[in-house]
């Protein structure tokens, strides 16, 4: 009796994962994931990819990138087919009905989907054919051909991974998102952009001095960042990534820091000290109109928009030490969110709306990452250890965070699941990589 009643509930949850995706609750800035809390990862098997005169290891490499993407997605678990004894004939042209025993074998091992691919060369390009089959019925669900220069191998794998995620969840995947950050280079600290998995870093500025806290525009075409182009001028600039075109948005007297673009892209929230101490302003980028939101003798900084654009979360030391506060986008309805600990700063609102990540000081006196719900009801610390953690930024799917962590003066960028598991270092080499910001999907 009891067991019978569970089945439809779970089936509903899983069906919800496919059809409903994200449901918006009408009232507040919170989006409920239809798949939670009982969501079970979908077991996927990645078969050995076939190489048709492709460069050495290209087929293996693309399969490895794909598997890493699928694992990171948190939607799928990747079954070890070799261990299960499931493999295809390497001369096979196409998986079809003739391989039914293979699909049955996979289904018997709980594999819900099988991925198979062929890597070939055409002219100077790589050609990847990616296929996704239902593990139970052997039906071909996805068939995609990607063509690109050899340097795009990882992008091809990311595309196929995103295809799986969007097919199974109705949400865009994150495998082709990027992370902007600041990194020491040739004596200056410059803005960089890298793939979400830490590959393919690209330098965006070459000012030779100090740039900080890049943040994405919603259309992913531009970054806004704190620029010390030299020691006399400190501004907030916008750079268009595809062209390198750059313009200054804010050049008020004093320190102009911590820019954040509104979800609709129209308003830039930032902190400036033109009034004597750091205050939060918004700039209407269409009219160039400035609006002052805070009026305090203390420091107000690090504004970050709620997903709806109706509210801002920010840091203020009006109560003594730095704490997290909320206010409406017009500066009204200010209330303090954090009360635990004497140091809470650098807030970032999850794109799903359900959590705000920030830097907290642990009981051991370490600067770690914490999460709090916007109503202040739930709070938890998700990192531990000796590193000085900073600048949390959410993945667009709300399942991961990136942040910087400094140990012995070396600062690197890490990815971590929202629940604090599976921490992964993204930067390698160099000594200082900081202020990461995850692009929209």
């Amino acid at each position: 009796m009891r067991q019978n009643s569970i089945v439809p509930v779970i089936a509903y949850l899983v069906l919800g994962a496919g059809f409903v995706g994200i449901m918006e609750s009408g009232a507040a800035d919170v989006f409920l994931e239809a798949t939670r809390p009982d969501f079970q990862k979908i077991p996927v098997g990645v078969l050995e990819f076939q190489s048709v005169m492709a460069p050495a290891n290209a087929a293996e490499r693309v399969a490895e990138v794909l598997k890493a993407d699928l694992r990171r997605s948190q939607i799928f678990s990747v079954a070890d087919l070799v261990k299960l004894g499931i493999k295809v004939d390497e001369k096979l042209e196409l998986l079809d009905g003739a391989q039914l025993p293979l699909f049955k074998q996979a289904a018997d091992n709980g594999v819900a989907a099988l991925v198979w691919g062929k890597m070939a060369t055409r002219d100077a390009n790589l050609v990847l054919d990616g296929y996704v089959y239902d593990g139970g019925t052997a039906e071909l669900l996805i068939g995609k051909r990607y063509v690109g220069a050899p340097s795009t191998l990882r992008v091809m794998a990311h595309r196929l991974a995103d295809e799986l995620v969007s097919r199974y969840t109705g949400e865009p995947g994150i495998a082709r998102t990027k992370i902007a950050y600041a990194s020491d280079q040739r004596g200056g600290r410059e803005v960089f952009v890298m793939d979400y998995d830490g590959y393919a870093p690209r330098q965006v500025t070459a000012d030779g001095f100090l740039n900080l806290t890049p943040e994405w525009s919603r259309d992913r075409r531009s970054l806004v960042f704190t620029a010390y182009r030299n020691r006399r001028n400190q501004t907030i600039d916008l750079i268009e990534l595809a062209t390198g075109k750059r313009r200054t948005l804010v050049a008020l007297a004093g320190l102009n820091i911590t820019p954040s673009l509104s979800p609709d892209g129209r308003y830039l929230a930032f902190a400036t000290s033109q009034d004597g101490n750091s205050e939060i302003y918004t700039l209407d980028t269409r009219t160039n109109e400035l609006q002052r939101l805070t009026f305090q003798a203390a420091g107000d900084l690090s504004p970050f928009w709620s997903p709806s654009g109706r509210e801002l979360v920010f840091t203020s030391d009006r109560g003594g030490g730095p704490q997290i506060y909320l206010m409406n986008a017009d500066g009204s309805n200010v209330r303090r969110l954090t009360f635990e600990g004497d140091y809470n700063a650098a807030p970032a609102w999850s794109p799903r709306g359900d959590w705000i990540a920030f830097v907290c000081r642990s009981q051991e006196g370490q600067f770690k990452l914490c999460l709090i719900t916007p109503d202040g009801q739930k709070r938890l610390q998700i990192t531990t250890g000796p590193g000085i953690d900073d600048s949390p930024s959410w993945s667009p799917d709300g399942r991961h965070l990136v942040f910087s962590s400094m140990v012995n003066g070396q600062s690197h960028i890490f990815m971590i699941n929202r629940d604090g598991t599976e921490q992964e270092r993204l930067t390698s080499g160099g000594t200082h990589h900081s202020s990461p910001s995850w692009s929209p999907a």
Binding site: Y146, V147, R186, F209, A345, S391
Partner: protein
Amino acid sequence: MDTHSRMAGLAAAVGLLLVLALGCSSKAIQTASDSSTEPGVSKEPRVSEQDLLGKSPSAPGQGRQSKDIAVAKVEPSDAARRHAEDIRRERVATAIAGIEDVFFGFDSWNISDEGKHALEVDAQWLKSNPEKMVTIEGHCDERGTQAYNLVLGEKRAKAVRNYLTELGVGTGGLTVTSYGKERPFCEGHDETCYQQNRRGHMTLRVR
């Protein structure tokens, strides 16, 4: 408990098969080629995409794939070398003038008695050289967040400027800025170094 979770797992698998059978079967996502280029865009190689099933669209998630993010290459510059040279020359000029820095306690921007003595010396020199321009840089130790340390550093720099003006130095030649924890003087990670890095650093502008 075990039976329930096993049941849940089974049910999830069944549910999935349902999703696939009802929702996804025999439907294909048809995405237009993604290799379009905007004018003036960098030469980052693009990947083109073709649907091999070629059936009607409208599967869940259709159209949710966005374009690749294109990032232009930037030319390396020797700006860093020029900045470093400027800083070196200013440091020499500041040392020759005998202008001293001020140090602070943790999370504090109060000027200590020792700091006041240093600033009295600085004020004497500045009053006798009113044409000179000085930048007061606020600095912090590595603890805490980048952003909050920028604000803290500025508080330190402004506390220094305020004390100098109290001593009769004209504000015209004084500029304040903050580098937070971004440009430390001492690279160690203990209090010996931290106290070196919590400072109001005076730099005499050259030129």
